[in-house]
């Protein structure tokens, strides 16, 4: 496959177990350049683990992860450091550096990764902080522990997009935000894809946000992607699991006690 036509992210048959618990049981997923893919699925179904497998933070037991057509699982450490420059990631828990003030958190990728001069990096960081709906003047010099959970999440989002990466992962970007702020963040994610041409992979439980930001949707269940398609087809997917999930019904094929298969 030539580079021009290869998808941005291509997962095939990713498997991962922790101990005897099978979390991913053959995940296949393709995300094309400039596309916004949203992954939905029950709590604990392995969505965050999938993202971490793509980033190489968790090493899958088997399968293949291709970025721009290049296999990444057997990369050497230096090549991997290099590849990481393409990525930005908003962690579900924020993962802000608690020993640094907010602006330095946001500017971290610019200063350390891109070797940008500190003053210039600070200016960009302040812009990004404004973009996620925070008053840069008041929060820039505070420490992460001094912010509320939702504010931390937005700082973390600012950090993920600060280096204008080609591929951005958002792990539950709107969880813990009020509806208005959630909408601001949704807009921001759409802007990243539309204006900056980034490829986005978002995890969310918030159906309003799915409809707003997704081009394509994939649903994960019992360690596999059981449905994927354009967001327009979400309502008539013809898949009982998807139907139950997007309508949030307590009864249906998805059992609320659904456990994990074991080895």
């Amino acid at each position: 496959m030539s580079k021009a036509t290869s998808p941005k992210i291509e997962l095939s048959d990713i498997k991962k177990s922790f101990g005897s618990k099978i979390v991913l049981d053959g995940v296949d997923l393709t995300v094309n350049k400039g596309e916004s893919m949203v992954i939905i699925g029950g709590s604990g179904s392995g969505k965050s683990v999938t993202l971490k497998c793509i980033l190489g933070l968790i090493h899958p037991d088997s399968g293949s992860v291709k970025i721009d057509g290049q296999e990444t699982l057997d990369l050497r450490a230096q090549e991997r450091d290099q590849m990481m420059k393409k990525f930005g990631m908003l962690f579900q828990g924020g993962a802000l550096f608690d020993s640094m003030p907010i602006w330095e958190n946001v500017a971290f990728g610019l200063i350390q990764g891109q070797k940008m001069e500190r003053g210039q990096a600070r200016t960009i960081a302040l812009q990004k902080i404004e973009q996620v709906g925070l008053a840069a003047k008041t929060v820039a010099d505070l420490y992460p522990a001094e912010l509320s959970g939702g504010m931390q999440k937005r700082v973390s989002l600012a950090r993920a997009i600060a280096t204008s990466p080609e591929i951005i992962f958002f792990d539950e970007p709107t969880t813990g935000l009020d509806p208005i702020m959630a909408d601001v963040i949704n807009e921001l994610i759409v802007d990243c894809v539309k204006d900056l041409g980034a490829t986005a992979l978002t995890i969310t439980h918030d159906m309003a946000s799915v409809r707003k930001i997704a081009d394509h949707v994939a649903m994960i269940y019992e360690g596999k992607i059981i449905w994927t398609g354009p967001v327009a087809e979400l309502d008539n997917s013809g898949n009982d699991y998807v139907d139950q999930f997007i309508r949030g019904r307590g009864t249906g094929p998805i059992n609320k006690h659904a456990g994990f298969k074991t080895v």
């Binding site: 980033l55 933070l57 990525f87 802000l96």
Partner: protein, 277 residues
């Protein structure tokens, strides 16, 4: 793998009592394998971390901060330890040596024991408690809260950013601390000798200089460098591989201090053997 699942999945039934010797062998074998595996993992980690100390990019600001954290802030602890060790050493050896009419050896015994043995080992142990624990807790917390993962996604290698500065600072600062400890320890012996045991000040100093050779001090400083490396490496290793949650960090901290202390004692013996036999 077979032995492992056998142990975990089958409880001991009465019919299996005859199998007890086999079961014991399995358990012993399994723990030996586990031990060897962790030694392998540790060596790999230390090798990788050391390599990163010599490969750019370097983080001079962070290394400087570790110099201050590890070196400067350990000074009171190491100083107090050395002072009282020197003092008690003078007192004890005086009691012993008067029985052989060999009071003149007190100054020499204090100088040699402090520089060759006590300053490096005690400083190493104190720093293991102070610095090893805090390194493990800090890096462990960063692991648990995904800050280390975040570093990776921001294209910064955690080995270079977190671990190399601590290893460098540990290895370079402990000899410096011990050198200061040597001076304070000998001075402690001098205080007790002169003000308590009735030595003349000039005599005590002369006896100290007479007996002390360059190699005594240098061997102690080399020991200190090794101990400093051990303390930092154990703190980093256990923190970096910390289990989940607050409990994981707590366990990592304990392991860091205990393993560093034991390794210090083991390497102290090995190094003494190398230097003086």
């Amino acid at each position: 793998m077979v032995t492992m699942s056998h142990i975990s999945s089958t409880p001991l039934k009465s019919g299996q009592i005859l199998n007890l010797p086999r079961l014991i062998c399995q358990i012993v074998g399994h723990s030996i394998l586990g031990f060897l595996r962790s030694i392998g993992a540790l060596s790999l980690f230390v090798g990788r971390a050391t390599a990163h100390c010599f490969m750019p990019p370097f983080f001079p600001r962070l290394t400087l901060r570790q110099f201050i954290d590890i070196g400067y802030y350990s000074l009171p602890v190491v100083g107090m330890t050395a002072l009282f060790t020197g003092m008690v050493l003078a007192l004890q050896s005086y009691t012993g040596f008067t029985r052989f009419n060999a009071e003149g050896a007190v100054a020499g015994v204090v100088a040699l024991s402090v520089t060759r043995e006590l300053a490096p080992v005690l400083a190493g142990l104190m720093v293991a408690g102070r610095v090893g624990a805090s390194i493990a807790a800090e890096i462990g917390t960063m692991r648990v809260t995904e800050q280390i993962d975040a570093l990776v996604t921001l294209s910064v290698n955690p080995f270079k950013y977190l671990i190399a500065p601590r290893l460098i600072a540990g290895t370079l600062m402990l000899p410096l601390l011990v050198l200061i400890g040597d001076i304070i320890g000998i001075y402690g012996g001098y205080i007790v000798g002169v003000y308590n045991l009735g030595f003349s000040s000039g005599n005590y100093i002369e006896q100290t200089w007479d007996i002390l050779e360059r190699m005594d001090v240098i061997s102690g400083l080399i020991k200190a460098a090794v101990f400093g490396f051990i303390v930092s490496a154990m703190g980093c290793y256990h923190g970096f591989n910390s289990g989940r949650g607050a409990q994981g960090v707590g366990t990592a901290t304990t392991y860091a201090v205990v393993s560093a202390s034991i390794l210090i004692l083991v390497f102290n013996y090995i190094l003494t053997e190398v230097f003086f036999s």
